[in-house]
Symmetry: C2
Subunit: 199 residues, 2 copies
C-alpha cells in the first residue's frame, strides 16, 4: 500500500531541505497530521507564501533584511571603519547579537569549495573591493567556519585583497567557552596554543 498522494507530495517538499531525508520528512508530515490543528497548518502555509515577500537582500551587504534601507548599512555603522566578511546572512544576525561588532557586513553567500565546484563567481568580490575603498575600511574581519573550506576561503581572500591598504583579521580559534580541555580535539588545542593571550 502506498502513502496517499497528498502525503507524498508533502514529503517530497520536506525532502528538499538540506539534512532532511525521506524518513525525517515522513516523520514531519505525520507530526502535522497527528498533532497540528487546521489553523496551524494554514498559518504555516501562509508564513511560507509571505516569507520571500517580507524579505529583501540588501544590494550592498547582501544580508536578508526586512526592508531597505538596510539597518546593517546605516551610516553610524560605516563610521566604525570595520567590515565583517561572513558566509551567510544567518552569521550576520549571530554576530550582531553578541554586541561586539559595531561595523558593517559583507555576505559571501558561499565558502570556497573547489571539490563541489563552488567557486568565486557567487562571492561578488568586485563589490566587496569597491565597498572597502568607498567606505575607507581599515579592518576586514573574516568570520568564517573553522573548516578546510573556511581556511581555503581566508587564504584566497587574503591574496585577493593584499593590494588594498587595510588590516585583515580572522576570528580566534581556540577552546570553546564552557568546554572541558580533556575533550578538545588536537587541532583546536594546537591553534589555541598558537593564539594564546597575555594576561
Amino acid at each position: 500500500m502506498r502513502y496517499p498522494p497528498a502525503f507524498d507530495r508533502c514529503v517530497s517538499c520536506f525532502s528538499r531541505f538540506q539534512g532532511i531525508g525521506r524518513k525525517t520528512a515522513e516523520r514531519l508530515v505525520f507530526d502535522i497530521l497527528t498533532r497540528w490543528d487546521e489553523a496551524a497548518v494554514q498559518e504555516f502555509a501562509h508564513a511560507l507564501l509571505h516569507l520571500t515577500k517580507g524579505i529583501v537582500i540588501c544590494p550592498d551587504c547582501r544580508v536578508h533584511v526586512e526592508s531597505l534601507p538596510c539597518p546593517f548599512c546605516a551610516e553610524e555603522r560605516k563610521k566604525a571603519g570595520a567590515l565583517c566578511v561572513v558566509a551567510t546572512s544567518k552569521d550576520v544576525y549571530a554576530i550582531d547579537a553578541t554586541g561586539h561588532f559595531p561595523g558593517t557586513f559583507f555576505v559571501l553567500g558561499t565558502l570556497l569549495s573547489p571539490l563541489d565546484n563552488r567557486g568565486v563567481e557567487r562571492m561578488e568580490l568586485e563589490r566587496l573591493k569597491q565597498r572597502i575603498v568607498k567606505e575607507e575600511i581599515k579592518e576586514a574581519i573574516f568570520a568564517l567556519d573553522s573548516s578546510l573550506e573556511g581556511d581555503a576561503t581566508v587564504c584566497f581572500m587574503k591574496e585577493e585583497l593584499k593590494a588594498l591598504p587595510l588590516k585583515l583579521t580572522r576570528l580566534a580559534a581556540g577552546v570553546p567557552v564552557g568546554a572541558t580541555l580533556e575533550f578538545v580535539d588536537r587541532g583546536t588545542l594546537s591553534r589555541a596554543f598558537c593564539g594564546r593571550q597575555t594576561l
Copy 2:
C-alpha cells in the same frame, strides 16, 4: 538587530514540529531563502494546504488513508483473522511494506505514558474490542516500540483483552539485522537469548 518578522513567523511555524528547536528552524528557513526558488516555495505551501484535504482517518482502523473505503480494511484482509495493533499510522505503512502481514490493523494513536499523563482515553479500546469480536480475530499482534512505554502498553492491553478468546503476541525483540554483536546492548542481547529460535 532582530530577524525580519516574515522570517520569524516562519521560524515559529517550523518550531512547532517535535524535535525541531529554534536553531534548526532558523536553519530550515535560511535554506528556503538561499536555495529554493519561488515555485518550490509555492508548491510547498500548496502541498501543506491540501495535505489534510487529501487524507482521511479510517473510522475502523484509524489509519490515515487517501479515501474510504480504507484499503487496509478490505474484506480479503479481514479473512486472515489477524489484527496488528500499532501506535501510529506510520507503523502501518512500514509493516505493510514488509509484505509479511496479510491482516488488518488498529492504530492506538499513542502509547501508555502515565508520567506524561497520556492515558487510555485516546486509544478507543472499546472499538478495538468490538472489532476483535465482530471480525472473529484469532491473533492480535502488538507491534509497538521496544521501550518502557511500549512494554507498559503491552501489559495493559494484555489485561484488557484477557477475557477475549484470542492469541496475543508481540514482535520479537533481538539483534537488529546487520548488527555486530559487539555493539548490541545488554537488554537486547538478553531478550534475543530468551527468544532464541530452533534451527
